[in-house]
């Protein structure tokens, strides 16, 4: 909050003036929303410009439905299962790319069939994510894996790269499928089911330019007077979170690097014992044993750093990107609030018009309220899954290390009898 106040270099009085009516007007807004959920949903669909299917109850973002779905998520009533697997390489004259099989199993009425299987490539996922961002601006859209991890350095068609990406894409779709609102998105449905996604993409092109405008028009001009404390805190949290994850990512990479260098030395170390064993008679066997033991430790170490590279790093990266997505949504929220504040200010200047509150301002307020509610719900959901994911991730890291040490332990323990036999030398 501290840095926000420095940004808002408006006179304090004005700031106070703006906040107070906001707070005063909140209760009636909630009242109305509860009474007319459909109305609120329609308002929300406005900035997109896309016709949202209002007949589907879940596609609206009304508080009522959201709450219901939240309950559903906690229970075990999942009805949409999506998996990404079977990557295939396609070599054409123009380009080479990978497609992934996207399999859907569902009992939802929005789907004609209980099961779908389509092939999609990275740019289709990218398209889906853009569409979701456009059509659900108030929601946190899960991140996609980066397009190129490191340009040129990474072989995009290597097995490891494709597998890591497949996992990330799988995670991406699963997160959407589990989301009470996003999973009902029309584009998501099309992505999962359409035989010819490209045809659909072209069809949507015409609408794209319009939507771009509607999202952009608030960008310039307004500065936020007072970001509600909780969102300011959320922003601050995300900044630190991303920073810390970035550090952890660097540490993890450094550890992997150190481990690989350690591995190089160990690989040289083991055979030296073997060479020595070749010179000796009585010590031959023990020395060979030590050499083999170090060899086993090498294998264990290799597995450890492989696991860390394939399982640990990608999750960290996903969450770094996730926090970026979250920050974007926060920014959009600020824009919507700024728009509302501007209108409120304009209204306040013409105090005499007070009695007839313009519907425009009211609509704007609704949008802010809905945005806040959506964002809070998403944040909460995100916090939950983050907690679970990190618990799993870090426990996994501990497990891998335990396994590594256990393998080495077994190796070293197994050579003790080899070293101890032949006691007649004494």
């Amino acid at each position: 909050m501290r840095h926000l106040s420095s940004r808002g270099c408006f006179p304090r009085a004005l700031g106070k003036f703006v906040t107070s009516p906001l707070r005063a007007q909140r209760p009636p807004c909630f009242d109305r929303q509860a009474r007319e959920p459909i109305n609120a949903a329609e308002d929300l669909s406005l900035p997109n410009g896309t016709p949202v299917d209002t007949s589907s109850p879940a596609s609206s973002s009304s508080l009522l439905n959201r709450l219901q779905l939240d309950d559903d998520l906690d229970g075990e009533t999942r009805d949409l299962f999506v998996t990404v697997d079977d990557p295939k390489k396609h070599v054409c004259t123009m380009e080479t790319y990978i497609t992934y099989r996207v399999t859907t199993k569902t009992t939802r009425a929005e789907f004609d069939l209980p099961e779908y299987s389509v092939r999609r490539r990275y740019q289709d996922f990218d398209w889906l994510r853009n569409k979701l961002e456009e059509s659900q601006p108030t929601h946190l859209i899960p991140p996609l894996p980066e397009k190129f991890v490191v340009k040129g350095v990474v072989d995009r068609f290597s097995e490891e790269f494709v597998e890591t990406r497949r996992k990330a894409l799988d995670k991406f779709l699963k997160r959407i499928a589990d989301h009470p609102v996003l999973s009902f998105n029309e584009h998501f449905n099309v992505f999962l089911t359409a035989k010819d996604l490209n045809a659909y993409k072209k069809q949507g092109m015409a609408l794209l330019s319009k939507m771009g405008e509607s999202v952009k028009y608030v960008t310039g001009g307004y500065k936020l007077r007072s970001r509600p404390l909780e969102f300011a805190a959320m922003g601050e949290y995300l900044d630190i979170f991303a920073l810390k994850l970035g550090t952890i990512d660097r540490i993890a990479q450094r550890i992997i690097k150190e481990q690989l260098e350690y591995l190089v030395e160990l690989r040289e170390y083991g055979p030296v014992y073997s060479t020595w064993g070749g010179l000796e008679v009585e010590l031959g066997e023990p020395l060979e044993g030590v050499s083999a033991c170090i060899g086993n430790c090498c294998t264990a170490l290799e597995e450890l750093s492989e696991d860390m590279t394939e399982d640990f790093l990608p999750v960290l990266r996903e969450y770094i990107l996730y926090s970026e997505s979250m920050k974007n949504v926060l920014k959009k929220r600020d824009q919507v609030q700024a728009e509302y504040e501007a209108k409120l200010e304009a209204m306040a200047l013409k105090k005499e018009d007070r009695p007839k509150v313009p519907t425009d301002v009211e609509k704007c307020q609704d949008r802010v309220e809905c945005f806040n509610a959506d964002l809070k719900a998403d944040m909460e959901r995100w916090q939950n899954s983050k907690r679970q994911d990190f618990r799993q991730l870090l426990m996994g890291m501990a497990d891998k290390n335990i396994q590594y040490y256990e393998k080495c332990l077994t190796a070293w323990e197994s050579i003790i009898p080899l070293l101890q036999d032949k006691p007649e030398t004494k």
């Binding site: 030296v272 023990p286 618990r391 101890q420």
Partner: protein
């Protein structure tokens, strides 16, 4: 080993002390002195005035003792001294001679050296060694009086010199070859081990960064906070555990180093044998040539082309008297040579016998020691693995509470 010195007295190097003094050229120098303590095992020396049971020696005196032993007992694999300068260390360890860790490791090494000599069946009976342990003043003079330096064969020092021995003893040739290979394999091992230690140190220490970042991260988390904070603590523990692990491993490296230097001692025995064989062969050759000369003079025929043959042709024949006198001298020399050869042969046979006995003893000692060293190394690795499992299990428990 029935009556080795160790049965009678206990020996230990119990302390090291930094000292400053003036050396031979009156230059200020700093050195380390080591306190040698000896104590009679059985108190049978009651009535007599008991010898000093503790005295100070510095490294250079140990060196003098070893050189004396090396020259005097050339048929013995003389135990080596610990390194003068720290070698094969990984970067974290200081290579400074005055570094307390290094001094401490050298103290252990010097004690080990004394124990090895004291438990050696032949070396332990040496008087100079005994006074090294018991007589503080005048010891150096005593060593020099033995004139061992005169006996020192300068040819032994010339490492590169190879003598063409016609009939080398196969066993010694093989042993020399073995000691060369042993030296190279152990030094390779030590070099790689130092690098392995370096890298391992890196792996552990980088984990320490998790400690900090987890703790910082925990500050902004609610439910996850406590788990992260305490897991961070375990990462700190993990990171610092490597210091003790590697310090302990240094002891293993020292055990290996002793055998690296033993390889040199082994080679010294081989070289000594080679030299003796060379001398023997030279003497034999000399004798044969003298015999040939003698025969030539007696028969008047020159079988081989020689300078003498040329001069005699140029300056005319010798008188029979002259020839007689020459033959006489030669015959005397031949007699002498034969005696010499006989004693050299005897000496050589004796050397081979005693040296080989000591080599056998050394081999047994080596097998036993190295097996023990490998066991303790494996035990070290096992304890490191257990520590690792412990720390990560603790960390996992913290994570599971998140």
């Amino acid at each position: 080993m029935e009556d080795c010195l160790l049965k009678k007295i206990e020996i230990s190097v119990s302390e090291a002390e930094k000292r400053t003094g003036r050396n031979a050229v009156n230059m200020q120098e700093t050195y380390t002195a080591y306190l040698i303590e000896t104590r009679a095992v059985e108190s049978q020396t009651e009535g007599q005035c008991s010898p000093v049971d503790s005295l100070w020696r510095r490294y250079s005196e140990f060196e003098l003792l070893r050189n004396y032993l090396l020259v005097t007992f050339s048929h013995i694999v003389v135990p080596p001294l610990p390194e003068k300068r720290a070698e094969f260390v990984w970067h974290k360890l200081s290579a400074d001679n005055m570094d307390p860790d290094f001094v401490e490791r050298r103290r252990i090494g010097l004690e080990n050296f004394l124990l090895r000599v004291a438990s050696h069946p032949i070396l332990c009976q040496d008087k100079i060694f005994y006074s090294f342990l018991t007589q503080e003043g005048g010891w150096k003079e005593m060593v020099n009086e033995t004139g061992f330096q005169l006996k020192a064969d300068s040819r032994l020092k010339a490492l590169s010199a190879t003598f063409r021995v016609k009939n080398p003893d196969k066993r010694f040739t093989e042993l020399k070859h073995y000691s060369d290979e042993l030296q190279s394999v152990i030094s390779h091992l030590l070099r790689v081990r130092a690098r392995v230690a370096d890298r391992l140190y890196g792996v552990y220490k980088v984990h320490g960064n998790y400690g900090r970042v987890f703790s910082e991260w925990s500050a902004i988390e609610r439910e996850m906070g406590d788990g992260l904070q305490s897991a961070g603590h375990h990462m700190d523990v993990y990171s610092s555990s490597i210091d003790d692990i590697l310090e302990e491993e240094e002891h293993y490296a020292d055990q290996l180093k002793e055998y690296l230097f033993y390889a040199e001692a082994l080679r010294a025995v081989c070289r000594k044998h080679e030299l003796m064989q060379y001398d023997l062969e030279m003497a034999a050759q000399d004798l044969t040539s003298k015999k040939q000369q003698c025969e030539e003079l007696a028969t008047g025929t020159v079988k081989t082309f020689s300078l003498k043959g040329m001069t005699s042709k140029l300056f005319g024949q010798e008188t029979p008297e002259q020839r007689e006198a020459k033959i006489k001298v030669l015959e005397e020399q031949i007699h002498e040579g034969e005696e010499q050869l006989k004693s050299k042969n005897l000496e050589g046979r004796d050397f081979v016998k005693t040296a080989w006995a000591d080599i056998e003893r050394f081999k047994e000692q080596k097998n036993r020691d190295l097996k023990e060293a490998l066991i303790s190394y494996a035990v070290m690795q096992i304890s490191m693995c257990k520590k690792g499992i412990q720390v990560w299990t603790n960390a996992k428990e913290c994570f599971s509470k998140m």
